[in-house]
Symmetry: C2
Subunit: 356 residues, 2 copies
């Protein structure tokens, strides 16, 4: 089993180091190979997703990804900016199913900006389609406005689109995920305005016939954004498109107040996947040894479960993370009075110790 | 001065009645004329936006709108469903600037699902472009997928687009609104992915040159959804496109926990406008006399200020609303122990009394 290690920029390298420590502490050894990506890819090879990095990602059984982006690359033209690497990996590898759990650990309930009774015990799973929608739809660009009141002016434009098969495959992922949980799926769309999402709703409704044990409801995206604030625990699994999923999964992760704890998986049709923390590269704290490595360590656990068929090892890591939280160890982002503040590397070591 | 009164469906008629009471209690009398809209429009004339209703809205100096939608119209084909009325009014009247304040009244701080320290004193203004973007962009529909892995299948598609002049005029509205407040404007986009919103960012940056006294920052929509949960008070004015504005303005209104208090204005280039509560038609409680009329009454106040040039009268109404809250009067949606529960009509009467 070969794992591509793509640390990236900012805090990426230091948090990925801790996850690698944890992987190396398992009985079974995996072949790990690193390559630069994002700003680091640009610095090394002039492109955020260098050919060698893409080749490695393609050849590997799974990819552990840190984070990309740093102030110093902000002025590059868009095609060369770090985040193009993540879009390129998703598209080239066909990673269409993004799984984003939003879980509030009981020990960290106080970290949320929401009242404890609203979020305690929160455990929702957002499934975001990741290779379609307005993210990649052609045509797009800046052109002369062809009609209407602004005819002849410049206009920016993009195309939102979803084909039937694209909706079907993400719907299957979502229904199957719901079957393993509380059997409730909310499909989020904007069927009252968008043709794309009226079509989405029709197809999801059709796929539902194959999963009679799952309760399906449809919700408009504006209402979903409200319900996530008002009563987030009412949800079990949510499924939505790439653009709405970008917004809602970030909103949901922030409900926990501890985004430094939240992993993510992006899977292809064969459960090969890219695993990364839900948070970003935080260049302001990079290199200071204070970043929280737990989201990355939990991403490695997801990798063992979904791509490497090692559910038991995944469970061991997840339990080790719970144990260090119980021990009261906290990186600064989740620190509260009465707990013990530790750095990135100490946190990684503590998880390794708790594995034993 | 002629005001079109469009009560609509669900709780629309009963809440609009209270706002009409308040308008009639002012010294200056306005000419009020009603017409059916939404489901009521369909029931009366076979269309959610009957010709007569549109003609009245066009002829009036301002429009007071209740809410549209009811379960019984859910099975109509999309073109006949109640919400098409609101889209039709926006487009036909050129109501491109939607102003959505999210204000937390001190008396209602407990109603929020967020911790008091995170939201107390919240006062942000979201400005949503309302006649462009993917809401109206052509082409759109369901077609045969022309390319890619799903070629030949059916696909749903829509077009996102913003012309330069469209962005400029909403940017001017936003900068001018910021000038009257704390002089901070956040433009929300997705410039890292969408051509439309890279263009949006460029134009907003250009318009900023005319408003050197306003501090402008740009934020990605996913980050904005996070910051609205993490630290909503950091914002003063936000400006964004139609689709992102739909999501973020609803999210922001829910932060207050009292969406029954929040008015909105949708303005054209000459400050003619449509005014409506931020909440919906709540058909489940319609006709029971329990709906909160304050958002509609406050919408009437916005109408006096923005469209009718009666800022002083607007202020009187807003003060009357504050007074009834201080008196402890509450409709069920904002009721807490120790306050006095009142119905829709009693609340309207109390505002009229407080005006005196
Ligand atoms: C960096 C950006 C292109 C990306 C996205 O919008 O998908 C990010 O926000 C994410 O959610 O992974
Ligand atoms: C009813 C719907 C078409 C509308 C919209 O999406 O604009 C509503 O959600 C709103 O925000 O006024």
């Amino acid at each position: 089993m070969k794992i591509a290690i793509l640390p990236g920029d900012g805090i990426g390298p230091e948090i990925v180091d801790q996850a690698v420590k944890v992987l190396n502490a398992l009985d079974e050894k995996f072949e790990l190979e690193s390559a630069p990506v994002g700003g680091a890819g640009y610095a090394a090879h002039g492109h955020p997703l260098p050919e060698g990095t893409l080749a490695l990602a393609k050849a590997a059984d799974a990819i552990l990804f840190g984070a990309v982006g740093d102030f110093k690359y902000d002025t590059l033209e868009r095609a060369l900016r770090p985040e193009q690497a993540i879009l390129g990996l998703r598209k080239n590898l066909g990673l269409f199913a993004n799984l984003r759990p939003a879980i509030l650990y009981p020990e960290l309930a106080g970290a949320s900006t929401l009242k404890p009774e609203v979020v305690s015990g929160l455990d929702i799973l957002i499934i975001r389609e990741l290779t379609g929608d307005i993210y990649f739809g052609q045509p797009r660009g800046v052109r002369e406005c062809p009609d209407g009141a602004f005819k002849g002016q410049r206009e920016g434009f993009d195309t939102m689109r979803y084909a039937e098969g694209e909706i079907r495959r993400i719907a299957h992922v979502a229904f199957q995920a719901a079957q393993k949980r509380d059997k409730r799926l909310t499909s989020v769309d904007k069927a009252n305005v968008l043709e794309t999402f009226q079509f989405w709703r029709d197809i999801v409704t059709d796929v539902h016939k194959e999963y009679p044990d799952v309760a399906l409801d449809h919700m408009y995206v504006d209402n979903a954004a409200m319900q996530l604030v008002r009563a987030p625990k009412r949800f079990d699994v949510l499924v939505t498109g790439n653009m709405f999923g970008d917004i809602l999964s970030d909103q949901a992760s922030m409900l926990t107040g501890s985004i430094g704890m939240l992993p993510s998986a992006s899977l292809d049709a064969n459960n090969k996947g890219l695993y990364e923390p839900s948070h970003g590269s935080a260049p302001d704290i990079a290199g200071k040894g204070v970043a929280n490595p737990l989201a990355t360590i939990l991403s490695a656990a997801m990798m063992l479960r979904y791509s490497l068929g090692r559910a038991e090892q995944a469970g061991r890591i997840e339990n080790a993370v719970k144990a260090v939280l119980k021990q009261g160890l906290r990186t600064p982002d989740i620190y509260e009075e009465g707990t013990t503040k530790v750095g990135t590397s100490q946190m990684g070591d503590a998880v390794v110790k708790a594995l034993a």
